[in-house]
Symmetry: C2
Amino acid sequence: MNDNLLFKQLYDQTSGTYTYLLADKVSGQAVLIDSVFEQHNRDYSLIQELELSLIACLETHCHADHVTGAWLLKHRTNCQIAASTDSGIDPLDKSVSHGDENSFGSFALKVIATPGHTDGCVSYLLNDQSMVFTGDTLLIRGCGRTDFQQGSANKLYHSIKELLFALPDDCIVFPAHDYAGRTSSTIGEEKRHNPRIGGQANETDFVGFMENMNLPHPKQLDIAVPANLKAGKPDDDELPRTPRWAPVTTTYSGVLEVAPEWVAANLNGVHVLDVRTQAEIDEESAQIEGAQHIPIDKLGARLDEVPTGKPVMTICRSGKRSVLAFNLLRQTGRDEVANINGGFLRWYGEGLPTS
Amino acid sequence: MNDNLLFKQLYDQTSGTYTYLLADKVSGQAVLIDSVFEQHNRDYSLIQELELSLIACLETHCHADHVTGAWLLKHRTNCQIAASTDSGIDPLDKSVSHGDENSFGSFALKVIATPGHTDGCVSYLLNDQSMVFTGDTLLIRGCGRTDFQQGSANKLYHSIKELLFALPDDCIVFPAHDYAGRTSSTIGEEKRHNPRIGGQANETDFVGFMENMNLPHPKQLDIAVPANLKAGKPDDDELPRTPRWAPVTTTYSGVLEVAPEWVAANLNGVHVLDVRTQAEIDEESAQIEGAQHIPIDKLGARLDEVPTGKPVMTICRSGKRSVLAFNLLRQTGRDEVANINGGFLRWYGEGLPTS
C-alpha cells in the first residue's frame, strides 16, 4: 500500500455493509465509498478528526439493503455524489461511466462497469491496481443476487469473469458486504475458491446457481431503493435537526461535545457540572461561575443532585473524566448533556473567565 | 504495506474479537494473532485455501471475553503457541518477553510488553513499524478495562503513553476488539483523540477515568479465563470429533466438502445426488453408479425423494450448483451432507469410474 494513502474500512452491523474511506495524506482529499445513512455521524466525525476534505461520496450502485448517507454527507461537507449513469440515482453531481477516473489528491479510483446485480453496478479500482471496491458484484466467496431490480446472472457472469478476474491476482477485493466476519479477499482467491463462479465454473453453472437460489424478498428493498434513487435524501428534504440546546458535535468515539467558548458565552442557559476531585479543586481554586461540583468518584451515588431544566455541560481538568460523567448522565435518560471539549486546560488556554 | 505481506483481518461477531492473519507471500509462513475457539474452522480453512503454513498462534494476553482457538489450531497445523511469560498461559511453546521477535518468512513481529489490562499483555509490532497489534491495551478511541485479573490503570497509562504512543504517528493500530464497526486506528489518531488517554490527559485523569467506570462483571470471564490459561484446550482434552460418516473439510465459504476419490472408493456407503440439468445429462451420458438424478431447478420441490439412511454427496458439472443442493438439504435439518469437490470435471480428471 502506498504510504501516502489513508485507508479505513468501516462496518454497519445492522445491514452488514462495509463503507470505505480513502484519502491522500498529502492533500487531505478524501472519498467515501458506499456510506450508510445511520452511520453518517460516525463517518463525518472521523473525517473531521482526521482533518480531511471529503470531495466525493461514491456509490457502487443503488443499494437495496440499506440507505446511503451520501445526501447527508454532501450537505455537511459540500462533497459531490457520484454513481453510474445507469444507477437511476438522481440527482447526481457526477455521473460516472466505464473508464472514468475519480481523483483524490494524487490517487484515483477508476470506474469498471460491472452490471449484473443491477444495471448500474460499478466497481472502483485504485490506480495502482492494489485494491478494488466491488460493491455487490463480487463478495468474499459469493456475489450479489440477481433476482430483483435489473438483476441478470448472465451479465454478472461476464462482469466478474471478464473484468474483475482480469485484474492482478494480488489485487485486494473489498466488497460492500460480508456477514461472516471476513473483511477482504483477493482476485486470485476468488478465481480459485469462489463457490459460485471460481474454479472451472462456466456460464451455465453460474446462471444455474443464481437462478435456483430462491432467496427471500429482501426486507429493506421497498424502503431502501426509493430512498437510494434520491441518493439518501430524507422524505422531508431536511437535514437531521441539530440540537437547539447547544451546538454539539459528535466525536468518533460517540461523545457529544461542545466548545468551551460557547459555554462561557451561554453560562446562564446551561448547568456546568465540574467533576474534578476535591484535591484538584483545593490546589486549583479557579471555578466556572455557578458550576456545581461533584467529584467523579461520587457522581454515581449523587446523580439526583444534578438539577434538571437546563442542559448539563460536564468538565474536568483535561476533558477525559468528564466523558464518564456525560455517560453516567445519559444513562439516566437525560438527552441534553454534553462534554466541554478539552476541559479546564482548554478553558484556561482560551482565556475564558473563572471565578 | 510491503507487497510481500499477506494480511487478513477477521471478526468474531459474538465476542466482538478481531483475529489477524499475517503471512509472508514468498515463504508461505503465517502467524495468527488472537484466534477465537468458535472460529477455528474458518481460520483453518482460510489458511488451507491460501496454501499457507501456520507457524504460530500469538496471543496478546489471557483473554476474559472469548476462548482462544490456539490449542485447536496447534493440533491441526503443528504451529507453536506463543504468549507472554507473564500471561499465566500453560503450556506455551514459546514464552515471549519484551524485545523478542516472532519471525514469519522475511517478516517479524516484535514484542512490546504493555501490561495494565493484565500483567501479561503484550503488543506485537511489525518490523517496519507500519502496524501494531495492541490486543486489549489500546482500543480504537478506548482501552482495555483494568478492574479484574491483574488490572492496573497506572501500569496501562505508562504502557500506552511511553511505549505505544512512542511509535510513529502513521503506525496503524489493530486492536483485539471493536464494537462499533471500526476496524483500525493509528497511533497519531489515538494520541490526539482517545477520549481516555489522548490529548492532554495525565496519569490522574486516566486513572480517575478507569477507576470510576463501574463496569458490569464480564459475562464470559469465569468461562474464558480458565480455558485460556490452558491455551484453549477443551475440558475433555479432545479435538472436536471429525464426522465419522465422511472425511469432510469445511471451506472458507462454509461448505462441507469431500474429495471425489473418497466417494468413488465408498460408493456403497453413500448416496450420490447428481443435480445436473437434463440437457447436460443427455449430452454427457456418463453417470456415477447408483447416483440419483434430480436437476437443481427441481430439487426444492422434490427434496423428499432424497432417501435418508446414507450420507448424501452432491455433485454437478463443476461443483458449484451442487453447493446449492448441499444448502437445500442442510436446511431440511440433514447433517450428513457434503459437496463433492470439483464436480464431474474433477471426477473425470482423476479417472474415477462412471457407468
